[in-house]
Amino acid sequence: MSGDFRRSMTTVHSWAGVMFGSLLMVVFWMGSLSVFDREIDRWMMSDIEAPALNHDSLSQNVSLDSVLRPHIDELLAAGARQWGSSLPDERTPYFRFFYQRADGVFVSEKIDPHRGLPIGNEGRTGNETLGASGFFFPFHFRLNLNWKGLGHNLVGAAAMAMLLLLVSGVVVHRKIIAEFFLFRTDKSFQRNNLDLHNLSSVLALPFHFLITLSGLIVFMSIYVPDIGRLVYTDKSDAWGAFYAEAADTFRRPPSGRTGGLASLDAMRAKAEAHWRDEVGFIRLRHAGDANAVVEMGRQVGGELSWNIDKVYFDAGSGERLYATDIKPMMQLQRFFVGLHFAQFDHWPLRFLYFGSGLLSCVMIATGFFFWLATRRRRHERQAVAGFTAVEAVTVASTTGLLLATLGYLVSNRIYALTEVPTPRALFETGGFYAIWLLSLLHALGRPLAVACRQQLAAIVMAGLAAPLLHFLGGGSASTPGIGAEQTGVAGVNLGLLGIALMAWWARGRMSSAVRCEAQMPGVGA
């Protein structure tokens, strides 16, 4: 490798890192949290959804006809055009139901599998929380910026930057194997920081690369929407034409005559016999029409690949109309999607994903701090404009992001314990953004090390406060129980305590490092 090539890759590595570091930090942090989104959902709902939580709610034991049907009939009478629902499973013991109202708007709700009623609207209006799956998860892939696909495209650009950062990082890092075993705990904070950057990068390199590539592949319809333009000559909707063929979709137009709905349980039994696997999702199109179609999708927890296998039924008679057959390359795409979403039933793997995601966060944060430290002196001497801002953004996107996340969870508990009049989702997301903004303002007003230490102290407090508030205000669900449903919630509490502990440790480590370097000018940063 020529020196020239390595030098250019070094330049690219630092520039792409500075430009996309904050964004990547947000994406990887939110992605890591999303691995346990259902558990965090349950933690956040522990004061409202207690009745639904037990093993009878597993899909095999729930009759669609007796539980869902009355609710559906009510919606159809009100003019709903289509509806769909995922079935309850171990991690999500309720129906995640959606329907399209007569005015075209899509509404989603959680349905209690025992009573067939929406969960979360009892007692208080606006009591429904977005949870982790409605806030952290969309934050992960579109930053909750929906304007003209801005969020999606920013995340896509960051993902390409991440791939470039990984390639250039490997080129920059000369002794990739030799230095892998090198961790100089006795040296300066700066040396430590670089060793930690190298260790987290190399240790999880396959993960960093594959999770980023598969993330791009998940959204290929957004990032490279017109690849099919030469193959499918229908210019208006090349992607639609592609997807209909690739997913082997069955569609038929509405007839205009009214029609009924046969037994959903019977259709489910037929679909399950066809795959020898469980149904995970149902949907009805052209609701109320004689040509209405019931779509049953195979569950995704059984294998690595995220399948899109479907069986279609005539809604009126319950006759099987069509079963999909997905071709090999599309199955490869579904494999990448499954690899990214990690929805398979495998707890050790889920923890491995979470740990690797956190390693990505460590890699990004340490890279950032390394860049800042190597440049601080030069930039201070030359008074480079904006350097303080970059420092503040770095703090806001590392410790500030953690603090905002904890703020979201603490707001959730404060809402449960008090009589706040605002809708719950607004109160919680407001807490998140307010704390994030405060962390940025806080970091703008003081040196990097001081801002970091103070925010780490705040993280310790918030990490202790959240489980405490949960214990105080858990409502009926906080009554002791050692079932599977309680393990997830307990795990979230343990995780929060873990965050507090790590922040405590990092704070102490930073203080001693700063003291150390203040005594030895010229060493390290």
């Binding site: 070094t10 791939l163 470039l164 190597t374």
Partner: protein
């Protein structure tokens, strides 16, 4: 091009001696690599999809194959674009080539417009 992380203290002289015109010239390479790379990667992927469809792969399979490979194509072009060396080959391949080929796409499409 400025130094990276290897010798952080030696870059100051160069920054100071830079003429204002050169600052803009430094944006040419990143623009070529990111924007030009994106359009060229997509173009190559489109052509690959077309070729696979002609070779007998079913249409949706050709498109999904090309779409998945497009990200790796883009990554390769990014690395090449940002690698050191002469600027003009990058300008030609990443800047000019997609600009020339893009208007021709309707004539290459499978069954014309």
């Amino acid at each position: 091009m400025m130094d990276g992380m290897e010798r952080p203290t030696t870059g100051s002289k160069r920054v100071e001696s830079q003429r204002p015109g050169l600052r803009w010239a430094r944006l040419v390479r990143p623009a070529c690599a990111t924007l030009g790379g994106y359009f060229l990667a997509k173009l190559l992927a489109m052509l690959l999809g077309l070729a696979l469809a002609f070779a007998g792969m079913s249409e949706s399979e050709a498109v999904v194959t090309a779409s998945m490979l497009s990200f790796l194509l883009y990554l390769s072009l990014l690395v090449w674009g940002f690698a050191g060396g002469l600027l003009w080959p990058r300008l030609l391949v990443l800047g000019l080539l997609p600009a020339l080929l893009w208007p021709l796409l309707p004539y290459i499409a499978r069954t014309g417009l």
